[in-house]
Symmetry: C2
Subunit: 322 residues, 2 copies
């Protein structure tokens, strides 16, 4: 029998899951809806039912060792999701405790989605041989997972690694957290849209993006326009790279990582975002850190990075305690 774990990636709209072996292969994948369930218990019942169905064909060939979950505001210490803005369920949801009722014999672990991505990068991805690195997810917001000496940084309360909410500009753009100028209001798929609109207001130059409404605009459209040479789109990437790169220089001064991995929506623009981020980070770094820190794309497939990360989370846990 082959050993495997269940990896679950809880997103605002969909929950993806997969059966993940030790090598990072997804033996089976599937998804359920997240946002259609007002009640967490109902959601969990449907999710576990779907997982059981998906595993039918693997019966007798695999032994499930554990369940790993990544979720917005998932707390590793408490095993709870706490006040996640993008999920239906308010207050503290005791996810690990509830999940253990479905898998009473198994190790069940929860963390936030960016931390899961970082552990995925360490166990299955480009950070396999690294002890000190950072993963930055550039989606609707900016998430991050910090790894120091081979261990994910959870901090005193389990909420460490909130780089999306370091202040990039004093009294800057309004953020969903209630404050102003947070890094994620600039460096994220949403942030670059705001930058495009700011540039459209500042510049007189023509741009294909002048025909797109704010709500219709996507990071992908900005990326495609930049590749066609659109000046506003190109400046938007340069500006985004400047904000992100200069703040990453401060992050390097904290933990001196070997590499910083980017993934998520905006990272799909690849060199368009990597190149200015790297350039401005180098310009901003304290001399002793220059030409040492790699900016890399995550080597996990964007499609199921969350599932692999959640699987890696529990594999990592099993390795720690064996």
């Amino acid at each position: 029998m082959k050993e495997a774990v269940i990896g679950i990636d809880i997103g605002g709209t969909y929950t993806k899951y997969g059966i993940v072996d030790r090598e990072g292969n997804c033996l089976v994948e599937g998804y359920t809806n997240t946002s259609t369930h007002a009640n967490f218990d109902d959601y969990l019942k449907d999710l576990c039912h779907a997982i059981a169905n998906s595993m039918q064909n693997l019966k007798g060939t695999i032994e499930i060792r554990g369940v790993g979950m990544g979720a917005p505001n998932g707390n590793y210490y408490s095993g709870s999701i706490e006040n996640a803005a993008n999920l239906n369920w308010r207050g503290e949801i005791r996810v690990v405790e509830k999940m253990r009722k479905y898998y009473p014999e198994l190790t069940v672990v929860l963390t936030n989605d960016a931390n899961a991505a970082a552990i995925g990068e360490m166990v299955f991805g480009g950070a396999k041989n690294m002890k000190d690195f950072i993963v930055i997810t550039l989606g609707t917001g900016l998430g991050s997972g910090l790894v120091v000496g081979g261990t994910l940084v959870y901090g005193n309360d389990g909420f460490a690694g909130e780089l999306g909410h370091i202040i990039a500009q004093l009294n800057g753009r309004e953020c969903g957290c209630g404050r102003k100028g947070c890094l994620e209001t600039y460096a994220s798929a949403s942030g670059i849209r705001r930058t495009v609109y700011w540039l459209l207001s500042e510049r007189q130059i023509d741009s294909e993006l002048r025909d797109v409404s704010f709500n219709d605009l996507t990071a992908k459209m900005i990326s495609e326009a930049a590749l066609r040479g659109d000046p506003i789109a190109r400046e938007a990437f340069d500006y985004t790279g400047w904000v992100l790169g200069s703040k990453l220089a401060d992050t390097v001064a904290h933990s001196s990582p070997e590499a910083i991995f980017l993934l998520g929506g905006l990272a799909n623009s690849k060199e368009l975002i990597i190149q200015p981020t790297k350039k401005y980070m180098e310009e901003s770094l304290l001399p002793i850190f220059r030409n040492k820190v790699k900016i890399l794309l995550s080597s996990l497939p964007d499609m199921n990075a969350g599932v692999l990360g959640a699987g890696a989370l529990v594999w990592n846990e099993l390795n720690l305690h064996k």
Copy 2:
């Protein structure tokens, strides 16, 4: 026989040393000159001679287990001091290798002075029961040591924890590192002097500090003036606390510590610096971190915190490998 270690604190002018037992008592203390030796080998010979002399009276009562050293730019991984601006010796000085010739049987460890202070706080001080905390030294510059999960953060190259060189203000004050706006140009004993002079230029209000030249001004004088109610001195502390507190909020978003300890020259102003730092940090924190992070004075005696830290460094190393 009682077990003890040698703790050595290499500063720009003096090198302090002490024999430190497991409980953090300094059984013997002494110092030699640092700046009078142009050649490191001569310096080391004199230092080891002085240590041997100081230990005469303890002969037969103690067994020395190791040597711990804290020094500007001391690198834990390489065992070298690398291009320290405040020391006479240029290039890479292989301190651990050279020290082992004097103590061939012993564990010899080097790190930078702020890291040694952090380990001192963990082993002997106020962080004894903490796993996640930060120590900030507010002297001529701003040094820092980050502890995550009970382990000091060295990073990929051994230079992690350079919080003095995160950017507090874009295109701000000139820094010794060649860049502009580094945190230590505002939040340090030197930084607050610069702030006083900036405020004297901005404000019209009378101040006793208008009679003091820049070179004569000390952090202690500013502290004493503030206690007498001098408006410029009071505003200087408020401004320093604002810069430090708002940047510490970003640091909390990285590693979510239980406490941040202040020590060194400016920290001797106690509540004058603690109070505004705490206030502005709280105002700047992401809501999930509010009212969780303590700002504390180091509980190590300022006089020999460096020696105790260096001693703690090697005790910590011996504990890790026993």
